[in-house]
Every structure is written in C-alpha cells, then in structure tokens.
C-alpha cells in the first residue's frame, strides 16, 4: 500500500549515512542524488504552479480588489482590509467558532482512529478484520452532501426519529437545528465519516513494529495490557505525534463543505467559521480584499502552530515533521 511507503521510518536509520553526508562536497551530492531530484521535479513544479505562484495573489489583502479591474486597476489600500476585518464582530465570531471546533475535533476525533486501529489489530480472524475495515472505510467515500442528507433524514426536524416521536405523542428532539449542540454534531459527523479511514496510517504503524519485541515482551511475562502499553504505543508514538502536528497545521480548516451545507439550519452565529467567512465575504459579497486578508491571517496562524508544535515535539525527543 502506498501509504506504507511514505511513512517516516519508525526504527532509527542506519548510522553510516549521517557520517558520509557531512564529508561529501555539494556537487558530488547533487550528482549522487540526481535521479531522485529528477523524480521529484514534477511534484515541485506542480507545487510551484498551483501553490506558490497563486500565493502571490495574497497582495489582494492589501488592495480594494475588483476582479474585472484586475491587479493593475484596483486600488492599494494598505492595512485597511485588516483593520476592517478586526473591527468586524462577524470575523471574531468566526474565529471563535473555528477555535472551538478545532479543540473539539482534537479532543474527541483525533484519538478515535488510534483506538480503532489498536482494536482492529487485536482481531485475530483475517476475514472478520477485513470485513470490519471495509465497513468503516466506506463512509469516507460518501460526499458531505449525502452524509448531511442522511443525518437530516434520520435526525432532522421532520426525520425518521422525530416523526416516530410525534406520532407516539412524545416531544421531538431538535438535533440538526440546535445552535448550542451544533459543534458536537459536526464532530460526530466527522467521526462517522472519517474515523475508519484514519485508522489506515495507524494500522500501518502497528504493522511496522518488530514482532520480535512482542515475543521478547511475552517471554518476559508481559500481559496483553503491558504489551500494548510498552510495545504497541511506543511503536506508534512517532506517527501519532506527526499526525497531531499535521492536524494542528490545518487546525483552522474545520470542514468547509460540511459546515456550508448546514449553516442555514443553525445560522451563522453558531456555524460561521473562517473558511465560510472568507467564502461569503469574498466570492459571494465581492469583498475580495477583506476575504483574502482573513485567508492570509489563517495561513500565518497555521504556520505558527505547526512550527510551535514541531518545536515542542523536538523538545520531547520526537522527530516531528522533519529530523533536526
């Protein structure tokens, strides 16, 4: 599986490489790595074309940008977009909602795939394991439109559950349109859809643990719990930390489509996040400048989060996103 090959090494790399690298002159290294560099070139090109060059468009954050007037025809306004952004209560509301959803997702969603992976790993029958895996991977391939519609049909104001309650003289539950519990609903939907898919990388991490370690632990008299605690978990730790850092990197991206589809049901007060704020301000209302300012700010904060998390990981002796 492709995922397996892109995994950072769990075991320490062979010692010799680190030493030889320091002695080699640059050109020799270039020559030695040339096949690899050629192979990576298309990816770099794509990254340049579709990520770095569009980044230049960030200048819109400092302009009163009008698409049909273009970059040359639009006015430069300095920091005006940022000051109007900061004075807009809707922006702070969106930021606060985003932060809440991020926190909920990290606390409630992030551990689920890890636990699922560990549980799956204990399933002995290969048939049963594969069956369960297929079942939990499936929702990942459904689009948000379908998932939201499913939730609406089952839990909505006029859904199966509430119709049943109404016809049996019980009072209905407001689940899909309750602003107070909306963020929990979002997290639940995300778990339902993606927790299974998220297990793949952790299962791969477990598979990469040297079976010898388990044998040794068993010989030493370790029980199932101790094997999990002292072998499985430490073996998965670098991946868990890496995933956590990457998750922090896009922690301000909390699910645009999912939220957009349900925003009307609870209103922008509870459902506006940075991404929908940017979308409505920029694309729909035509305030491209303010919207880009919000987007730029989001990018900067995300970068800072990744760097901080990575630094922390290094402090704790982990590899993080790159090795020091």
């Amino acid at each position: 599986m492709a995922v397996n090959q892109t995994l950072p090494r769990v075991n320490p790399p062979p010692e010799n490489k680190l030493h030889t690298q320091r002695k080699m002159p640059f050109l020799t290294k270039l020559w030695r790595d040339s096949p690899l560099l050629v192979m990576v070139a298309p990816a770099v090109l794509i990254l340049l074309l579709f990520t770095y060059i569009p980044l230049l468009g960030s200048v819109i954050a400092f302009m009163d940008y009008v698409p049909f007037l273009g970059f040359t025809g639009s006015e430069w306004v300095g920091w005006a977009n940022f000051s109007s952004l900061f004075s807009d209560t809707a922006f702070w509301n969106a930021l606060w909602n985003t932060a809440q959803i991020t926190l909920l997702q990290i606390v409630l969603f992030f551990p689920v795939p890890i636990l699922l992976a560990v549980l799956l790993n204990t399933v002995a029958m290969p048939m049963a394991k594969r069956f369960v895996q297929s079942v939990i991977y499936l929702p990942h391939f459904l689009s948000w439109v379908i998932i939201v519609a499913l939730f609406q049909q089952v839990l909505g104001g006029n859904g199966v559950l509430n119709r049943f309650l109404l016809t049996h003289d019980m009072s209905p539950f407001e689940i899909m349109s309750n602003p107070d519990t909306f963020k929990l609903l979002l997290t639940t939907q995300a778990i339902w859809k993606d927790a299974g898919w998220g297990t793949i990388i952790f299962l791969a991490a477990i598979a990469a643990i040297n079976p010898g370690l388990y044998e040794a632990a068993t010989i030493d008299g370790a029980g199932a719990w101790q094997r999990f605690w002292h072998v499985t978990l430490p073996g998965m730790r670098p991946i868990i930390v890496l995933m956590l850092i990457l998750r922090l990197g896009d922690s301000l991206t909390v699910g645009f489509e999912q939220i957009l589809l349900q925003r009307d049901a609870v209103g922008p007060g509870a459902a506006e996040v940075l991404d929908t704020f940017t979308y409505f301000n920029g694309v729909v209302d035509g305030s491209w400048g303010t919207a880009t300012a919000a987007g730029l700010l989001k990018g900067v904060v995300s970068l800072l989060l990744v760097l901080a998390a990575n630094k922390l990981a290094h402090r704790l002796g982990e590899e993080g996103v790159y090795r020091r």
Binding site: G156, G157, L166, V284
Partner: protein, 544 residues
Amino acid sequence: MSSRISRRSLLRSAGLAAALAPFGGALAACGSGSGTRSAGGGGSASAGQAVPLPTYVPPNKPKPLYEGTAQGVMDVYESFPMDGPKTVTGPVGDGTDFNVMIMTYGQPAPPLEENVYWQLLNKELNLNIKPVQVPFADFQTKFPALVAGDDLPEFVSVPIFQNVSRLPQLAEAQFTDLSEYLSGDAVKKYPNLAGIQEAGWLNGYLNGRIYGVPRSDPIFSTQIYTKTDVIEAAGANPQPKNLQEFRDLAKAVTDPKAGVYAFGGNIAGFLQMMFGVPNKWTRKSDGTFVSAYEHEAFIPAIAELAALYKSGVFHPDTATLIENKVQRDALFRSGKLAMVHDGNRAFGIVADDRELVFDIMLPFGKDGGDAVHWTGNGAYAITMIKKTTDKKRIDMFLKVLDYISAPFGTRESFVINYGVEGEDYTVKDGVAVLTTRGQREQDLGMAYIAGGPQVLCNPQGTPGVDKLNYDWQQKVVSTLLPNPAEHLYSQTYNTKGAALQKQMDDAVVAVFLGREPASSLTAAIQKWKSGGGDQMAREYAQAR
C-alpha cells in the same frame, strides 16, 4: 407527476428571490411613469453624456379576455393566438454561434439533438445557440468566478434580483455601450424592443448609458398561495381579514401528527407589508431618506414572525427550507404545507398544474383594512453583449433580442412560447396547450433573456387560474408602494449593498427562528446603519 417543476414555470417565478430573502430580496420599485430620466442608475465614472431612454412604442395587441390597466394589472387571454402577425422580417442571425449565459432553475434542457424546440429556435433565428447555463443555486458563486476568470461568454443575461455588486462598473469595463443603437428613436429599428416599457429599461440603464436589454417583470412582488383542499379539510377561513384571523388560520391547518404545517419558508415580507413597513426606503418631505429598517413597524413585524414560529405553525425544517425553494414547492404540492409565500411570478408554477387547486390570499392590514404592497423592480433580467466595436455583431445581437421580445399574440412569440406542434404542444378545441415535453425543452431559457410586458395565459392550468390572479391584481394594485431609491445611484450600495443586506437578512432569520430575541434587531440595525446604511441614505438624497 405532481412534484415536477419545469423551468418554464420556475423562470416565471423570478420574484422567488422575494421569498428567499426575508426582506423581500429583489423588491424594489421602478419609477414608473416619471418621464425620461437622465440620471437613474448613474455611476461614479460616467463613460459619456447621459442619454435618453429608448422611446416607447406600444405594441399592437389582440383583444384580451380581461383588459389590464396602465397601473400594472396584466391582460388575461384564454388562449395563445396561433395565427398571429409576423413582426420580424428578413434574416435574424448569421448562422454563427450564440454563446449566452442564462441562469436556470431545474435540470438543464435536453441536449440539442433530442430537443426539437432548440432545433426550431436555431432555425428560426439562424443561429447556433449555445447556452452557458448557471444553476440558480450556484449563481452567486459561479458568476463572480466567471467574471474573475474573464470567462464570461459573448452574451450575458444577469437576473436583477441577484444583486450583482458593482454592476455599473462591470458593465462599463466589460460590456458594450448600446446607447447609440437604442437611445431615443434609434430603438425603433427594433420594433419589439421599442415595445418594452421604461420600467424595464431602467434596470439596464447604468452610468446614464444603456448597457442591458431587459426582460420585463410584473409590477407585483409576492403572493401567498393557499392550498384549498388542506384549508377546507381543517375547516379554516382561507381569506383572513386581520392578523388574528391569520394566526387562527395558521393554527387550524397545522397538524404535526399528519406532518402538515401552515408554512415552510420565510414570510417576513408578507408580515412587513401587513404591518405597513415601507418598501426599503422612505423619502421624507425634506428630501432625506430613511431606511425601512428604522420604521416603527419593522421590529414588531419580525417579532410577530418569531411568535408565529414559536407557536409551531412552521415546518420543523423551516431553517433549511428558507433557502430551498424546490423542496418547499414540493411540500406545498403534496399538501404538507398549507400555504407558500413566493414571488408573483411563481404563479406560473401553480398555474401550470391542472390538478392543483389553490387560491391566492388577499393582503390585509394588521388590524383589518389595507396592507401595502411593495412594487417589484420592473425587470427579471438584463442581457448584455461583451465589449466589441463590431457593429454588425451588435446589430445581430439586438435583432435576436428583438425576435425574442415579440409581444404576446405575434407569430414569433408563439414560436418562443410553444415550439413544435405535436411535440411541444398539442391543439385541443382550437387552444394550444403545452405538453410535458414542451415544458421540459423550454428549460433552455432563451425566452427569458429579453421581452416586454407579460400577460396571463395558462390554458394548461386549472380553469380560471388567470382570472383568479387578475382579480387579485385588481384588488392589490391600489396599494402598490414603490421604493423611492430604486434606480438612484449609491456608491455604498453598489459596493457593500449585497453584504449589508445579507447581514440584516441573517439577523432577521435569527429572530424568526428564535435564536435571538426581537430586541437584538435594534443592534443589528445600528450595525447596518454605521456599516453603510447611513451613507446610502445620504447618497440617495444627493442622487436626486
């Protein structure tokens, strides 16, 4: 199939925006009968001298069954004359591609090879029509993307109620100034375009120049359709005379166990008109403008809306139904909603279906007496041509629109509205009646890019539907209330109008659905005012 909704009928519901937006969406007035205006919709950077609007030459019309009025009541016809006079002579198109952006509602029209209506139009117009269809739900994102990517096709039809921001600047930067072809008597070269009234033209009159050819709209804005069988079964009175009777009706028809509710969408506009809230702006005697949000009846009207919602007469999915017109209409048709509030043009949707028995609620004041009725803005859409100096191309564009604008009763209009005999329509007792195929094929939308006044003629609907609407119009026409700021230019409205409007709409919906108390509107209005509302009022006062 009772839930089928054809674009033909939906397109007629252009005023649906009125029901989508709590404040009434596109509602705005046309300064009808104010003579030639030279400053309407003017812009900051005028490309040249302001020009007179096209001269109006009233078209010949067949004798209607019921005569309309100059105030806006529409003519009623029993059937569409099949042997009407020709108004267009000589070739129209030149056989080239006609790439036109049209906003659509339902499914896309059947492809050319299966669509005899499309084939007929191509032949009649001597063109290769290639529509760029933008679904209604995507317009607000797709259109800006087409503009930003410089991907607009040669011809672009923009629905007025979509509130495109910076439209005058966009027109000046990207579209052809049609003034020399249409201003004053020049329009007479295209006689059917000369039959379009000023109220329509004002929508395409930007920066004092003529950029767009309008598709005229009825002067009325919204109506409440009532489902007769549901209301009769509940033993309720379908024509309440005051707020209390209205509440009683809503309560009587609601039956949660059966899944039947009075409403499923936003009726803020209806309640505001019932409470006497002005049409967006009031011009005081000293020439200053005051927003309708500041009117004493605005907050009470929304508070009443919230109280109705709280009393349980709204469908449980109202929060999502507000923006989901298609589902709302389906619920109405299936009897799960007893009433639906929609744009006046939505009449076509109900009138198209023979099996649907419905009535139109007459407006009434809160304590009895008359309500006000906000005037619509006079046009559904304007159609423009990308910047070009090719005079032949511009002439061809206008000839095509001239053909499409042929008034009711002409041969061209019959072709546009009925298509191919035996396929798109059948003749029963001398009356042409559209088939389902005909309704589907017209989803092409070409009929809705330009045109003059419309008439009421729905022989395929329940007998008497047009008379029903005619009677409603007769009663409402005296209560029409225009928006005094309509077609006045405000730079703030132009750049921030759409965003400010949405901000207020969101605040209204929050109160409606009980997320916020009615008192929160005071702060929302303050925010709206300081965010640009006050500036708009000043600009309108100066624009006069």
